[in-house]
């Protein structure tokens, strides 16, 4: 029995949204074990809890004595028919072309995450401003709460010891040396970190074996020096640790169709970051079940992101995906979801797996690029290719300088003031995720970052196009085929059969997999097959069952019984009609004997469906050539005018009916 315990992916994602907003607001020297829990205890399906959870968490801190810089809150903003709505209802969200969750304090945007239907940079900035207005209200209330509960005084703590003398001495002795190493612009991650480590080791050696200096503090201060030097390199020289210009993307190579047995695969490599992506196309049975308190249903699009230790040269045991992996996978999923074909164009369940084989930053963005390439390799008719880029920023308030960095390294993520991932097509943004670590980031700088991200994104799209520009026209031969047939609602039972007998028989005899859904207008029969031959057989079978007899159509029939006045012919599964003796041949027959046999296969045309009785009248002779010298008789001129045919041919028809009844 399932129970609340391990968090679901949805719960992990909301937890991360809260975590990312709160974490930067704790003091940097605060190291006490801290646990925030937010529980949904009552659910209203028109009021989504995820955008409220950060407000609740921050308010709980606000009424406590735990040190915290200032209140924070989140709001969701959606654009519905051109209007921005704060904390929209699910019904409004279904109509939206932009869905952002924004975290902010009174003054500063802290975090942004969301998805968009190829929206412009300016529209996104507008959305942030709308969200921020409501967030300010939520922060104000928290300040009032702190005052009214009397928790304006926060607790005392002292979790760090310092040696300011040592710090000063190290800065004086080492800053220039470290800056010089940074300026060597070593592009290889391992070599660069070895060069920095050497400076530190030399300093430690210089202290002598019997030093009483705290080596832990030496490491801490060396880290600070390293960070400062690396930041200044960018600010002063507009050059980055690995030698790139601020807006320069690392070298890219990619390859598709790498794995022979996958439905689609791609290797995407950007600098020292490499993703091996696969796309698998499955049936409706492969849909992912969602079973949450508020959300139940199934997902037709799944993306899993894996980050093994060897990708950064670490020997860490494999413990399965953590929260970071879930978050990265979700971002890539949202980025690619916007360009998926509609259900009608693509009945497949799509699963993308991104295995990060090497990493030095931006592996979630490599997943977007690799995932997109692998879908194109699989022949999924996506609307447009999507790429992603991770932006960074280094700023200095004192000198009022800032540099925006395109395609940041792992190191640049750690030492920078912003981590801003943007994905999109040529036409617009499809997803973004931003974490800001400094105060006072202006909307102007944000706009600059967005525009520089756009350049990076388009450059990467261009590189990807060199490998594959549009989705492969055909699926790989081993991809399961799929066809969807719409059928009338009252035919669903006929296809399923008693106890599923018919559908099982079709599956067994053809090898196809058949899934029947009730949709609004009727039934949808989804057929999945490993080969075209299998598919053709299954389609024909289903079509045979659901087909309605149509006047004027020609059918392959089977003679079921013979009477004096004609033959009964099964011309469709379960449907018999009368082939009257006069309709067998052009020549007049006196008897049915020796003309056709029970069990014989014959072609017949359905010439009439009796409106009153629903009985079918068949003809065979109309499909035969008229014999030479055939004598047309007068009544023939009225064929086709059924209303009064009975009168003119009365005698014979009446006699037939008598015998038939």
């Amino acid at each position: 029995m399932k129970r609340e315990g391990k968090l679901s992916d949805h719960e992990v994602l909301v937890s991360r949204l809260i975590d990312r907003a709160l974490r930067p607001l704790f003091p940097g020297d605060y190291h006490a074990e801290t646990q925030v829990m937010v529980s949904l205890i009552s659910a209203d399906e028109t009021a989504l809890p995820d955008a409220l959870a950060c407000f609740a968490a921050s308010a709980a801190i606000a009424v406590s004595d735990i040190p915290f810089a200032e209140p924070v809150a989140e709001a969701r903003v959606a654009r519905v028919n051109g209007e921005f709505v704060v904390n929209p209802t699910p019904a409004q969200m279904a109509e939206a072309d932009l869905d952002l969750i924004v975290a902010a304090t009174m003054e500063n945007i802290m975090m942004v995450e969301g998805e968009m239907k190829e929206v412009s940079e300016q529209d996104m900035l507008e959305a942030l401003k709308v969200a921020h207005a409501s967030i300010k209200e939520m922060c104000k209330i928290q300040i009032e709460l702190t005052e009214e509960t009397g928790n304006t005084e926060k607790r005392e703590y002292s979790h760090e010891t310092h040696d300011e003398e040592l710090e000063k001495e190290m800065f004086e002795q080492l800053y220039d040396k470290v800056y010089a190493v940074a300026k060597q612009l070593i592009s290889n991650k391992k070599e660069r970190s070895a060069a920095f480590a050497k400076v530190k080791e030399e300093y430690i050696e210089s202290l002598g074996e019997d030093t009483e200096v705290d080596l832990g503090l030496v490491s801490t201060y060396f880290g600070k020096i390293n960070k400062k030097a690396s930041r200044n390199l960018v600010l002063d020289e507009k050059i980055r640790l690995d030698g790139r210009q601020p807006e320069q993307v690392r070298p890219i190579w990619s390859e598709i169709d790498y794995l022979p047995s996958a439905h689609g695969s791609a290797v995407f490599t950007r600098g020292e970051t490499q993703s091996l992506c696969t796309t698998t196309l499955g049936t409706k049975l492969d849909e992912q079940m969602i079973d949450g308190a508020m959300h139940q249903g199934t997902n037709r699009f799944i993306l899993h992101y894996n980050f093994p230790g060897f990708s950064t040269g670490e020997a860490k045991p494999n413990r399965g995906p953590g929260r970071r992996e879930v978050g990265h996978g979700n971002l890539a999923l949202r980025a690619l979801k916007q360009v998926l074909p509609s259900h009608e164009e693509n009945p497949y369940t799509i699963r993308i797996v991104s295995d990060i084989l090497e990493s030095n930053g931006s592996s979630s963005m490599a997943t977007v690029c690799g995932g997109c390439l692998s879908m194109m390799d699989a022949g999924v008719p996506i609307k447009a290719p999507v790429s992603g880029v991770a932006m960074g920023m280094i700023s200095d308030v004192e000198t009022d300088r800032h540099v925006v960095l395109t395609d940041i390294l792992g190191d640049e993520d750690h030492l920078g003031d912003m981590d801003f991932k943007v994905t999109g097509t040529e036409d617009g943004i499809t997803a973004c995720q931003m974490d800001i670590k400094v105060e006072g980031l202006s909307y102007e700088v944000l706009e600059q970052a967005l525009m520089q991200a756009r350049d990076g994104r388009l450059h990467i799209l261009n590189e990807m196009k060199k490998t594959i520009a549009t989705p492969r026209g055909e699926m790989k031969p081993h991809t399961p085929r799929t066809v969807s047939l719409k059928i009338a609602r009252d035919m669903i039972g006929a296809v399923i059969g008693p106890g599923g007998k018919i559908v099982q028989e079709i599956q067994k005899e053809t090898g196809a997999t058949i899934v029947i859904e009730e949709v609004e207008a009727g039934g949808l029969v989804n057929i999945f097959a490993a080969s075209q031959d299998t598919m053709d057989k299954a389609v024909a079978w289903v079509k045979g069952i659901v087909a309605m007899p149509e006047e004027g159509e020609v059918y392959e029939g089977k003679v079921k019984s013979i009477t004096a006045f004609g033959a009964f012919v099964e011309f469709m599964p379960g449907k018999e009609g009368l082939l009257h003796i006069s309709e067998v041949k052009w020549e007049r027959l006196e008897s049915m004997e020796g003309v056709i046999e029970v069990g014989e296969q014959i072609q017949v045309k359905l010439i009439e469906i009796d409106k009153r009785t629903g009985k079918y009248r068949l003809s065979r002779k109309v499909l035969l050539e008229k014999p030479e010298g055939y004598q047309e008789r007068p009544p023939r001129q009225d064929r086709g005018n059924r209303g009064d045919r009975g009168d003119r041919r009365g005698g014979r028809d009446n006699r037939d009916r008598r015998r038939d009844s």
Partner: protein, 79 residues
Amino acid sequence: MYPNVINKTLSLPDGRTISVETGKLAKQADGSVVVRMGDTMLLATVVSSKDAREGVDFLPLSVDYQEKFASAGRIPGAS
């Protein structure tokens, strides 16, 4: 013995309201609030140790968001 409850409300641009209440539930936590919008209610709590553990030079923060199935009158696994 009814607790001293503080309640605050704010309005969204479209007139819906969000309220926050403290002082009623989970009072042994360092901080605790209940946030409500419509019939959606969230209980948030925070607890922080008085001291840091030996050798820890970062913030050992964990944040867990959890949806109780009972909040929507559901039993997990059932449909």
